[in-house]
């Protein structure tokens, strides 16, 4: 035994170190994924007998308007949320200068990311609130009649996304700021000697060097958009009449909320959401794998 360890120590040691993490990952991530898939084939209220109904939950899902509303909103979230990447880059470049007190400005810009999403949601809910909200008053002055963003099915999802973008832009900004620290000064110098400036400098010299930061920014933003839940829950609860639901919130509603007793149906939604996320995650993993092996 000891001899075996001695001879294979180098091969085994990594696994020993990985074991606790892998164990946790298996128990809290991998196994629950398969459990969710398993539950999605049952009709179960979480208390009583679970009844095997095969793919019935998925059949119902395919004919569920609320599901398509959620899916559509998720697409809007994904598209709009990606605005955080260019916006974050813009602010990062703007803040990447040496002025007296720049650290204070940077931390002020980073501030929204530090406060809890729940607080962000509440603040924006008050901002939009009919009768007394700042935004409502503003629209009242400009258009004559106030617009209650969170009561209007046309604007509600966008209203929530704007609230989500605020901290997300700050997050992306920080990623780019650290990236900008690593931009090679000699290359910038060389480009400058060659007469590059402005957009050309940004596009051909700075941005290529920021590729790792861009990659991470896109990954966290895409995943952040798909798992958006807390803001929807705090600001509207999916309303008005379910028009601001997203998949993760719909899953929660069906399986775990006050009016939801359908574990199987909730699990089916979760599986679909997982499938959508897997498309992106596999893309990211594939890219990382490629980068690693090319090196």
């Amino acid at each position: 035994m000891l001899a075996y360890w001695k001879t294979n120590q180098r091969r085994l040691a990594p696994w020993v170190f990985l074991a606790p993490g892998m164990f946790m990952f298996a128990v809290y991530v991998i196994i629950p994924i398969f459990q969710s898939m398993w539950i999605s084939f049952y009709d179960w209220d979480g208390l009583g007998e679970a009844v095997w109904i095969g793919t019935e939950n998925y059949v119902e899902l395919a004919d569920d308007d609320a599901f398509y509303t959620s899916l559509y909103n998720n697409v809007i979230w994904l598209a709009m949320y990606l605005l955080a990447v260019p916006a974050g880059l813009l602010i990062a470049i703007f803040l990447n200068q040496t002025v007296w007190g720049i650290r204070v400005y940077k931390s002020l810009f980073f501030f929204p990311f530090v406060i809890s999403q729940v607080v962000v949601g509440l603040m924006f809910a008050w901002f939009y609130a009919p009768n007394f909200g700042l935004f409502y008053k503003l629209t009242e002055i400009v258009f004559g009649t106030g617009t209650a963003v969170l009561a209007d099915e046309r604007f509600v999802t966008y209203g929530i996304i704007v609230a989500g973008l605020w901290p997300q832009i700050a997050y992306v900004m920080i990623l780019y700021l650290t990236g900008l620290n690593n931009v090679a000064p000699d290359q910038v110098e060389a480009a400058r000697l060659d007469g590059a400036k402005g957009w050309r400098m940004l596009w051909y010299v700075i941005l290529p060097q920021l590729r790792p930061a861009t990659f991470i920014a896109v990954v966290v933003t895409v995943i952040g958009a798909l798992r958006s839940f807390d803001l929807v829950s705090i600001m509207t609860g999916g309303g008005p009449y379910g028009t601001s639901r997203v998949l993760s919130y719909y899953m929660y509603e069906q399986a775990l909320s006050e009016y939801g007793y359908r574990m199987g149906y909730g699990a089916a939604i979760a599986v679909v959401l997982f499938g959508i996320m897997m498309i992106f995650i596999s893309g990211f993993i594939w890219k990382m794998w490629r980068d690693e092996t090319e090196r």
Binding site: D45, G46, L47, G48, E60, D65, Y128, A129, P130, N131, A148, V149, L150, A151, E153, T236, G237, G239, P240, Y241, G242, E253, L256, S257, E258, Y259, G260, Y261, R262
Partner: protein, 412 residues
């Protein structure tokens, strides 16, 4: 002694403590979801119970009201207390059907509760057995701002047509005739329940919530036609979908709205906002179809014994105590709600309680509230439909088709 702690850890600590300090006493754990005033009232009640039964120590674990609704599903299956708060009607059906609550018909039998709690008996009964004990309910109706009525110069209506006519005048004066705040959905259901019960009667309302009638039925459409008289001309507060019921209460207090279909628990909020018995009025929802017996909403709060209870004997003793006329008088007087025991009394100096007691005791029948009478999924879909209808009355056909589809899935 009474222990009131939030959180399971605290409860465990208290349990251990009381276990060693009172080796002779039996512990009765009670999970509840009281707000501060009801909590104080229940603690006083528990103190009385313990004084009468010195060998029982009641440990009250109080939860946050909203969090409790999720927590109960966990603790019933994992670490069941001896007593748990819940609601009557269809709301308790999932737990009863899953065998999570025990049958307490014997408590009803032994204490003559079938008579004393007669008005609430039907809503506590599933399969001919009683599954818990009600300790309070409250009336719903229309609360109105008397000053606004005076300002516009209209009389308090006695008929539905009169109510609608008033609305036109309120609208002219820039006042919302009927306010509500549906961001949490349920306040809208109160309006539906009343219009439906007044248009089609209690039996039809119960058949509808029990899934026996189609949502596309002409009688349902008749209900919505009455509702449209409020929704289409814009007599209901705009943007109600984005405001809480408390925000809508503020509109009534500020004189920006005239009427509010609400439960009696809102009186506290109105009064905090500065209204008094002179400016706040209460009226029974007016008759729509003449001759239909008057049914009312009276959501009932209840206490149950979970199947996993360890101390069932003492739990039953406690249920009998809570059901008694004296205990209910004491608790409900402190909280400002109505006792379910008909031998209890209500304080004569609270006009809203007196009116409520009068309203409910003369009612033909009592409904629990849409989200307690209908199963959870139907309730959710229904309340969303009501909210959408009030915003976009022209979408009624689509809304009813959708509700009918949900009905097909929920009641199998």
């Amino acid at each position: 002694m009474v222990h009131s702690k939030t959180g399971a850890l605290a409860a465990v600590a208290v349990l251990l403590l009381s276990g060693s300090a009172f080796a002779q006493t039996r512990t009765l754990t009670y999970n509840a979801d009281y707000d501060p005033i009801p909590l104080a009232a229940m603690e006083a009640l528990i103190a009385d119970f313990e004084a009468a039964n010195p060998d029982i120590d009641v440990v009250l674990n109080n939860f946050d009201h909203e969090g409790y609704k999720t927590a109960i599903r966990n603790f019933l299956t994992t670490d069941a207390p001896d007593l748990a708060n819940w609601y009557a009607g269809n709301r308790m059906a999932p737990f009863v059907n899953a065998g999570q609550f025990i049958d307490v018909s014997d408590v009803w039998e032994a204490n003559g509760l079938g008579d004393a709690l007669g008005s609430a008996k039907a809503s506590m009964t599933i399969d001919g057995k009683q599954w818990g004990v009600p300790y309070t309910y409250y009336q719903w109706g229309i609360y109105y701002n008397r000053d606004v009525y005076k300002q516009v110069g209209v009389e308090v209506p006695t008929t539905w047509d009169g109510f609608i006519e008033n609305c036109a005048k309120f609208k002219e004066a820039g006042i919302d005739c009927l306010t509500t705040g549906t961001s949490a959905l349920w306040p809208g259901a109160g309006i539906f329940d009343y219009i439906n019960m007044r248009t089609n009667g209690y039996e039809f309302h119960m058949e509808l919530t029990a899934g026996k009638v189609a949502w596309t039925d002409d009688r349902v459409k008749a209900t919505f036609a009455q509702w449209a008289k409020l929704a289409e001309p814009g007599y209901i507060t705009a943007n109600h979908a984005a405001i809480d019921w408390q925000d809508a209460a503020a509109l009534l207090v500020q004189g920006k709205a005239a009427n509010y279909v609400m439960g009696n628990f809102a009186v506290g909020v109105f009064k905090e906002g500065g209204m008094t018995n002179d400016t706040l009025g209460f009226m029974v929802f007016p008759e729509i179809t003449p001759g239909i017996p008057r049914a009312e909403e009276a959501p009932t709060d209840t206490i149950h014994i979970p199947a996993g209870a360890k101390n069932v004997d003492d739990a039953k003793k406690f249920l009998a105590f809570v059901a008694s006329a004296d205990a209910q008088t004491k608790w409900n007087t402190a909280v400002g709600q109505l006792p379910t025991n008909k031998n209890s009394t209500v304080p004569a100096d609270d006009p809203f309680l007196v009116a409520g007691f009068e309203t409910l005791s003369t009612a033909y029948a009592l409904a629990q509230f849409f989200d307690r009478d209908a199963p959870a999924e139907m309730a959710k879909a229904g309340m969303e439909g009501f909210q959408e209808f009030m915003v976009k009355p022209e979408r009624l056909p689509e809304i009813l088709d959708r509700l009918e589809k949900v009905r097909g899935q929920v009641y199998k």
